[in-house]
């Protein structure tokens, strides 16, 4: 461990905001990358289920 305490870690001889900011932004960008496809997958599943449901109910209606 390079740092002796938490304060040292956040300060990093004045560079802390830069370093931690860079890491923060990195994980935000990666998080967005991870998030969008997941949302889309959920929505697609939902849409397809609805389509299925409508189709089935149509069929029943015709009977």
């Amino acid at each position: 461990m390079i740092f002796e305490n938490l304060e040292d870690f956040f300060w990093m001889e004045g560079l802390g905001p830069f370093v931690l900011g860079a890491y923060f932004i990195t994980f935000v960008v990666l998080g967005i990358n991870l998030f969008f496809p997941m949302i889309r997958e959920k929505r697609l599943r939902f849409e397809l289920r609805n389509e299925n449901y409508e189709l089935r109910s149509d069929a029943r209606f015709e009977e």
Binding site: I2, L20, A22, L30, N33, L34, P37, L44
Partner: protein, 245 residues
């Protein structure tokens, strides 16, 4: 070999095969990224010249490498699409563009954050940053062209051509920009070219790079799967997929 290639090119086969990829590789990549982050932030030594700002290297440098690899992968997919007319390759290229663009953007941002304490400004017209900016513009152009084409109901073949022409252009840009900046300013000291990097510095770098690659792979397959589902939503297996879970 060719048969295997064609089977992989079938959306249904790929969809069935890649069922578990996003989750598996995603988790693996998060573990690697977490390890690399902890190591890079807490255990790697500060640089004798740059101090702690060298820690930005662990997120910046692998991202730069991966952003370029993403372009290469996209261009290869485009070539496969153009040559063998495999639709899946087109969707793969389409899925890769936003990932590559976001990584190029990340490289620019982290580079700027690194530049502020090191050079004293957020932005310098440094060769590396400029060619990454051009890479980002190339990605944005491809994404914009794709959107415009799909709005008109056309397929992505012009996009594939653009990706391939861009692939030829990238090394030229890299070279010309490098040359220009060495003419205009004395070579600034760089992040990567260290005479001897101790293992406690390159191991987290390696961890982060592997993490990025796996992360991209996970997101990429997940996007491709979404693309497949939205295009093949009328098929029975797509409906079965929606019904499961």
């Amino acid at each position: 070999m060719l048969g295997w290639f064609h089977r992989l090119g079938s959306p249904k086969t790929f969809f069935g095969m890649s069922q578990s990829w996003p989750k598996t590789f995603g988790l693996l990549s998060l573990v690697l990224l977490a390890l690399g982050t902890v190591w890079g932030l807490l255990f790697a030594p500060p640089d004798y010249q740059q101090g702690h700002s060298v820690r930005i290297m662990y997120v910046h440098v692998p991202a730069a490498a991966v952003a370029q690899s993403c372009y290469l992968i996209m261009a290869i997919s485009s070539a496969v699409f153009l040559i063998w007319n495999i639709k899946l390759a087109d969707w793969a290229a389409k899925s890769m563009a936003p990932i590559g663009a976001s990584l190029a953007f990340l490289v620019l941002i982290t580079g700027a954050i690194w530049g502020k304490p090191t050079w004293g400004t957020w932005w310098v017209w440094d060769a590396r940053l400029t060619s990454t900016l051009v890479l980002l513009l190339l990605y944005l152009g491809i994404i914009a062209l794709r959107n415009a084409l799909e709005e008109k109901g056309n397929d992505g073949r012009p996009c594939a051509v653009l990706a391939l022409v861009g692939l030829v252009n990238l090394p030229i840009i890299k070279y010309s920009v490098d040359w220009w900046f060495t003419l205009h300013q004395p070579a600034s000291f760089t992040l990567t070219e260290k005479p001897k990097m101790p293992p406690e510095m390159w191991i987290p770098l390696l961890l982060m790079a592997a993490g990025y690659y796996l992360f991209v792979f996970s997101v990429w397959t997940s996007r491709i799967r979404n693309e497949i589902i939205s295009r093949e939503r009328k098929t029975a297996w797509a409906k079965a997929w929606a019904g499961s879970q």
